[in-house]
């Protein structure tokens, strides 16, 4: 019995001695989304996501539309100022379907540090589009999303469709 107590005590000492505080590494500088967006982007892929089917666990959730029309003709340029804030933009569609109504003007975002929506403005005309996954910037890719919501009489909205546009620089 005395030997067993000695064994437990020794085990406890070893366990405590092996404990080391985890080193929390620096996560680096915050991602500068606006700066990452600056430049001219070419549309490479168009994908429809049936969000209703996803939520209901139906099959047939996505469909690639890239080759349906001349989507790859489309280019968008985002300009920023020295303070990394959005300024002007321009869009060249070529023969691509137009999914942003405003062709040139100013662009703004809903949050400069972590934007999720872009508003395009030209005079009285405005249009809005969502920014997709930030991780795409690591692949030198930009994802813009046109989201469609179904709204009931109480004003509750449910996402039922996403049209995803993937760009490369």
């Amino acid at each position: 019995m005395k030997k067993l107590t000695y064994f437990y005590f020794l085990s406890l000492i070893i366990i405590l001695a092996s404990c080391k505080p985890n080193e929390i590494k620096d996560i680096g500088e915050a991602r500068q989304v606006i700066k990452s967006m600056a430049g001219t982007w070419s549309l490479t892929t168009v994908q429809q996501v049936d969000e209703f089917a996803k939520a209901q666990l139906f099959p047939y959730k996505t469909l690639d539309l890239t080759n349906l029309y001349a989507y790859k003709d489309m280019k968008i340029t985002f300009n920023i100022n020295e303070s990394n804030q959005p300024t002007t933009f321009s869009i060249v569609y070529g023969n691509s379907p137009k999914f942003i109504k405003v062709l040139s003007g100013n662009w703004t975002v809903n949050n400069l540090d972590a934007p999720s929506k872009i508003t395009f403005t030209s005079g009285a005309s405005t249009d809005e589009i969502s920014i997709g996954n930030y991780a795409n910037f690591d692949l030198n890719q930009l994802q813009l999303v046109v989201k469609r919501y179904q709204v009931d009489s109480k004003g509750n909205s449910k996402l039922v469709l996403s049209n995803n546009y993937y760009f490369k620089k």
């Binding site: 049936d50 089917a53 099959p59 047939y60 539309l65 469609r148 179904q150 009489s153 109480k154 039922v160």
Partner: protein, 262 residues
Amino acid sequence: MKKVYKLFVFAAFCMISIHASAQKAQVKSTLIPGVFTPEDEVILEVDVAGTTLSGKEIYIWAFVDGVGDSKVNTAFNNSPEEAKFTLVSPDKWRYTFTGTSFFNKASSELVNKPFGFLVKTKDGTIQSEDYRPAKFSPVLFVPSLFRNFPIRLSQYDAVSIFLDQQYGTTPETQRFTPTTINLKLFDDTNTQVDIDKTGLPVVKQADGSYGYTFIPNILFTVPDGKKLSKVSFTFSGTTLDGNGAAIPYTSESGDVIFLDLK
């Protein structure tokens, strides 16, 4: 002779009266959304202007054929207040319901069954015709002859229409070789927009499965601001007759409903 004449006039008068009382109001109605499951909230809007129900307070009498009546179908000559429409503007009324609770049925009992209704006065002395504007959509995926992708879309989105012959209900539909699709576009007053688009080549997806993808505003000439309600379609191709000769065949028709998405 005079008596016979009087009898004839009386009979004619009776016939006209019976015909007049039997005539039912034809109301305009819209379901929002146009595609809905038994668990979705649905708004039924009706316009009774120019009908015998004009200027009257109106009530719903709802039913699903083969399933049963709604919970507000109590007595036809004395509808309860829960069945009363809400006035939106003169002669335009609105009623909101959710299939499962309105009919007190499980989703599975309502899926693929048509929602039916008529509009009436509280005492039922004036009523509309019966309407069955749409079926309840499945809550779970049910394979069928026609399928559209995405399931819920607006008139501005790309739509893909697929034919899967293994779910055809006739031997001809199961056996024919589809080569083209024919499309007809309608606005929110059910008036055709642009001309029919016929002979559009379909793409084979797999054995017995064919599809076609388009954006309505690009394929058709749609005036700015025109609200679209649906596109109707049929698939065409050939099948073999009793002598083995190829003859043209066109499938039954289907619809894709455009929703007012935000």
